[in-house]
Symmetry: C2
Amino acid sequence: MELLESFFSHGGEQKVFSHYSKTNSCNMKFSIFLPALQNNETVPIIWYLSGLTCNHSNVTEKGEYRKKASELGVAIICPDTSPRGEDVPDEKDNWQFGSGAGFYLDATEEPYSKNYNMYSYITSELPKIMMNHFPINENQQAIMGHSMGGHGALIIALNKPSQYASCSAFAPIVQPSSAGWSSLAFKKYLGQDKNVWRKYDATMLIEDGAKFPDFLIDQGTKDPFLDDGLRPHLLEEICKKNNQALTLRMQEGYDHSYYFISTFMSDHIEWHYNRFNL
Amino acid sequence: MELLESFFSHGGEQKVFSHYSKTNSCNMKFSIFLPALQNNETVPIIWYLSGLTCNHSNVTEKGEYRKKASELGVAIICPDTSPRGEDVPDEKDNWQFGSGAGFYLDATEEPYSKNYNMYSYITSELPKIMMNHFPINENQQAIMGHSMGGHGALIIALNKPSQYASCSAFAPIVQPSSAGWSSLAFKKYLGQDKNVWRKYDATMLIEDGAKFPDFLIDQGTKDPFLDDGLRPHLLEEICKKNNQALTLRMQEGYDHSYYFISTFMSDHIEWHYNRFNL
């Protein structure tokens, strides 16, 4: 692991690291915020998964999470959204596929299956690295994300409910199998068999019986992607039908930007903190 | 005036405008955050002046000022740091002069005097535009800034103490006349006569008898520019000698970045709020 950046901020330390990922067969970057620590103390960790076109830096710079994380004594990790590099297959002109668009799944199709394994990277490889290198309490993890990263948080929590104490999302893609900006990527990463896609689609996981204690979702009413790509009502309907708890808050006038995310970031961190077993 | 961007954020609205500046003979951009307003209400305003290489957007995205400004009901305006455009003389490869480096002075030398009039722009032209277009209480203004913008805030408050209720700075250039990264710019903008420079140098203004109620200054101890460009001890010494109040806080471990600024932003907004006559 290589330390790329380190800053004092809000009483803690904001760092950026690079490391080789076996799962993705390439170097990956992530940022981590660590609050001030007592000797031998371990802290809970919240995973923040970013959206299409982003990397670790967008939310690290604009997310406004450090003040609350520092107050509550929580670490925040912000991974990248896909594998990257000269040896990683990509479609340079397509922002909905390839670099910046890993969709938090494990690709099965050539030539993507060697590198595009963000699901295993986020749920297995990177957690082990966290526990080995940082004073993290591995039994107190939560997961959240925005847009494509909101999708990632939902499907990861539904697939691995025992690994995460809580889950929340800003403007998540709730049904990527059928949304215009994700279904084409699913086909390229996972092939034609839509049964394989269900593991990576929150609405279908719930339909298939997956459960999670509760989800907090904030969604702006002026989000330009609301009716086409995001469609929170699809999740709402399926949660109702399947007795899955959901706290969906429609936020009047807000859009899809970091100005929206940063507004409700403290609420989400508190939501997670209150669900840790500390 | 043209509205370029508008976002709901933290209960208020973050906007970016472009307008033609007569003072600078070019188009200028600024951002303004307006908290939620009651009918016919006017709000106090805090001017935030940015540092070298920045424009309005850096602090708007990374400054973390909206939550506190919204809570207290304060508007925040973030102007650009210089005139810009094809017709504005510049030295493209010099980040310490020209675009992004207006130093908040009125240039007297050719070919800069037509455009580089940031002092008059910030203290006279832009305040009038604010009052004409936004529900601002013109009797309740405060000014703050970072680095070159900290210098700007200090010299503006010292030159116009009746116009500003309070002044603060993050890591200001306290003696630009003698600092390596500003003295060459002063020579180009203002000519050889160092008496002319004194109006734009906080330490010399105080030496010449200028007064302001108090300054809040935060300075990181790990700031790479501390000993060379910033030198807060020079201000401290001159304030002591001239009975000028100064609240200088050396912040252990912090550097010159927005991770530092955002950490202490709420403190500064509260400092200003407590000095408004509301």
